[in-house]
Structures are given as structure tokens and as C-alpha cells.
Symmetry: C2
Subunit: 205 residues, 2 copies
DNA sequence: ACGATCATGGTACGTCTGTATCATGAAGGT
DNA sequence: ACCTTCATGATACAGACGTACCATGATCGT
């Protein structure tokens, strides 16, 4: 036989090609042949490693979500050795905004998947839909910690604020993608809300 | 000739068929033949009233946006004879959430269009993308009025809060659509923020 | 009443799509 | 050394898609 290749590695390369072309021309416009060309392989190879298009899409989605998770984690680590709850939350939220080309692609393709999932049963019960729940729990915990440490205003409802921040972040991200808002102004809005939640020192408003 | 028909009326019927099938099976999956079947006319007729698919999509988008505008306006009117700023804003935001089947369809199709617009130049510079700006101005004005009338907390930055509320509303709407959140909990989150902005009486926190 | 015009039907064409089939060289096990 | 098995190529197929073309009653203006 020919050289035994690492299937998983191959699949990753193809999935990344899928994400690239989806980010460029939109997920709806991506075909098997496009992915093959972008990955520099033949159509047959894409069929070989992913038997059907649906499996390719599913794998691509997982790969996308994993990459996003790493991106956020790296951003949080970059926030410092022992960042406070606010710095951590801020890093998470800002990492979710489509600022550079990479996160723009992620946001666009992710939203495309989400739209598809509404009418496609196979994508609907995919675990990537649960990652927002995980994020919500994480932010809630951080806010609760801040509240316990008297870093946040006493009246804060941790979960409601967590939901709000994540929904805002998602909404702002979409409007950045649509070209309605600049990343800077979106970041400023998020910061304003964090300022409100994390009162500094003893000010009571 | 045959009975002279009202072209605009016909186009509206077909556009509504487009929106219905798009809401059911997703905008990406909608074809000329599907629209024709849903509208109960022949494929030729869809071609006759909209020469090309792109024109059909554009018209459908306008129709969708117009319908949404009416929906919101009706909801605001239903808020009472002379509603205060808070009731008005609340009506606007709640009308934007995908609660019933109609608004669910609107949200889904609208989001599909927005995703397409990112990679499609023809849709990108469509006026419906400006309606968020109009909403932002309207909410900002209402918040400013409330502030001037001492109904809102003094520290409120009207525009930042308007942006936040609309972004939250959009983000919450998307998560409702994805089945991650119930309409009720989303409405509760929005209400919590309105409670915060519109302090009651003389409380200073 | 008649011819120009409008609304509609049917259908064919070319292209693109995802998938399946046939073919073949290259290297593993024994 | 041989035969199986793996990786890859080329291409064919059936269907759906948007669009274009031809046909034909119906009715309006005159």
C-alpha cells in the first residue's frame, strides 16, 4: 500500500479548508469540490476521509468549536498570572468578538451553522450548542466569586448578569460582522457594563 | 388579455410564500419551485413577477422588514394610550423576541439574510441593515427623555444603554431560536435591565 | 370585431451538486 | 516474492437548480 497517512491529521486539514472557504464565500456556498480545491486534494479524497457531506460539516463544526475554545482559553491565560474575575470575564467576552480575520471567520461560520441547526435535525443536537451553557456557568461563577469578595455590587444577580453579558457579546458580535459597529465601540459597551457591575472600592453607585 | 391583475399584490403573495417556506425549511433550502408551489402558482409565474431569484430574495427581504416594523409598531400602540418611555422600550424589545411562530420565522429568516449579506454584496447594502440604527436612535431618545424626566438613573448613558439593550435583545432572540433559552427567561432578563435603568421614585441605587 | 397585448402554462437546456464506480500504484504482512 | 490492503485518481451518474423559450387563451382599446 502507499504510505500510511494519519487519518485524523488529514481530516483536520480538510476541515480547516472547509472553514476557510466557508469564511470567504459563506457556508451555504461551499461544496465538496471547493473544499477539495482549497485543501489541495482531489474530490475523491474528501469523499474518502468524510464519506458524506453531512459528516464533513459535522466534523468541521466540531473543529471550529474546539479552535474557538482554545482561542478563548489562550486569551484568558494572556490576561495574566492570576487575573481577577473581571479580567477573566473581560478576556472571555472580548475573545468572542469578531475583531481579527480569524475570529471573524469563526463568528460567521458559527452563525451559519446555528442558522442551519434550526431547520436541520442532525446539527440541532450537536454538543457545540451546549458550549454557551458552559460559558454561562463559568461567567456566573466568576461573578459570584466577585460578589463574595465584595468586588461586585451587592445587588448583583450573578446569573442574570452572566446571561446579559453573553447575550450582549453575541449581539454585538453579529453587528460587528454586519458592519454596523466597530469592534472598538462594541468593546467599549461591554466595558461600560463591566464597570457598572464591578464597582471599584467602596463606591455604592 | 386576461384579467389585469395587481402586480404589487401578486408580488406580495409570492414574497409571503417565500418567507413561509424559508421559515419552515431554511432560507438556504428555498428554490423557485418551492416558492411557486407554496404560493399555489406555476414556476413560470414566479419568474414572471420576479425575473430572477435575486430580485425575489431582495423583495422578500424588504417585505419581511416592513412586516416586522408593523409588528413592532402595533405592539407599541398596544402598550397603551400614552405609554411612558419604559413601556415603549419594553414593547419594542419584547416584540423583537421570537415568541410566537410569526416572530420566530421573522427572526430565522432575518438572521439568514444577515448571514448571506456578509458574503453577498447585493444584499449587503440593503436598507434593512439600517433599521437597527433607527431602532438605536429611537431607544436612545426614549432613554434620554426618561433621564430628563428623572425617571432614569442620573448616571445613565442613553446611547450606551440603548446599544446594550438592543444587542441583548438580539442575542437573547438568537438563543431562543436555537432552543437554548425560553422566551420567558429572556423577557425576564430584559426586564431586569429595564428595572435597573428605570429606578422607581427616588431610590439612588 | 379585430388585432395588439397581457397573463399564464409547459417544458427544455445547461450547469452544478453530492455520490458512486472503476481503476491503479504502492507498500504492508507472511 | 506474492498477495492483500490502503490511498488516491478519474470519471460517470442522477437529480435539482435557475433560467430561457415557445405556446395560447383572454381581454382591452379602437
Amino acid at each position: 500500500m502507499p504510505k500510511r497517512v494519519d487519518h485524523e491529521e488529514r481530516r483536520t486539514e480538510i476541515a480547516e479548508a472547509l472553514v476557510r472557504v466557508a469564511g470567504r464565500r459563506g457556508l451555504h456556498a461551499v461544496g465538496m469540490r471547493d473544499v477539495a480545491a482549497e485543501a489541495g486534494v482531489s474530490l475523491r479524497l474528501v469523499q474518502y476521509y468524510f464519506e458524506t457531506k453531512e459528516k464533513l460539516l459535522l466534523y468541521g463544526l466540531q473543529h471550529l468549536a474546539a479552535g474557538f475554545g482554545e482561542r478563548v482559553a489562550a486569551r484568558v491565560r494572556a490576561a495574566g498570572e492570576n487575573p481577577g474575575p473581571r479580567a477573566t470575564i473581560e478576556a472571555m467576552l472580548l475573545a468572542s468578538l469578531p475583531t481579527d480575520e480569524g475570529s471573524r471567520t469563526f463568528h460567521l461560520v458559527h452563525t451559519s451553522y446555528a442558522v442551519l441547526a434550526v431547520t436541520d435535525a442532525a446539527l440541532a443536537d450537536q454538543p457545540f450548542l451546549k458550549s454557551p451553557d458552559a460559558a454561562e456557568d463559568a461567567v456566573t461563577d466568576l461573578l459570584q466569586q466577585a460578589k463574595d469578595a465584595h468586588l461586585a455590587r451587592p445587588g448583583t444577580d450573578a446569573r442574570v448578569e452572566a446571561i446579559s453579558l453573553l447575550a450582549m457579546s453575541a449581539g454585538l458580535g453579529t453587528s460587528i460582522l454586519a458592519g454596523q459597529r466597530s469592534p472598538e465601540s462594541a468593546a467599549a459597551v461591554l466595558d461600560a457594563h463591566l464597570d457598572r457591575i464591578f464597582r471599584d472600592g467602596g463606591r455604592n453607585d
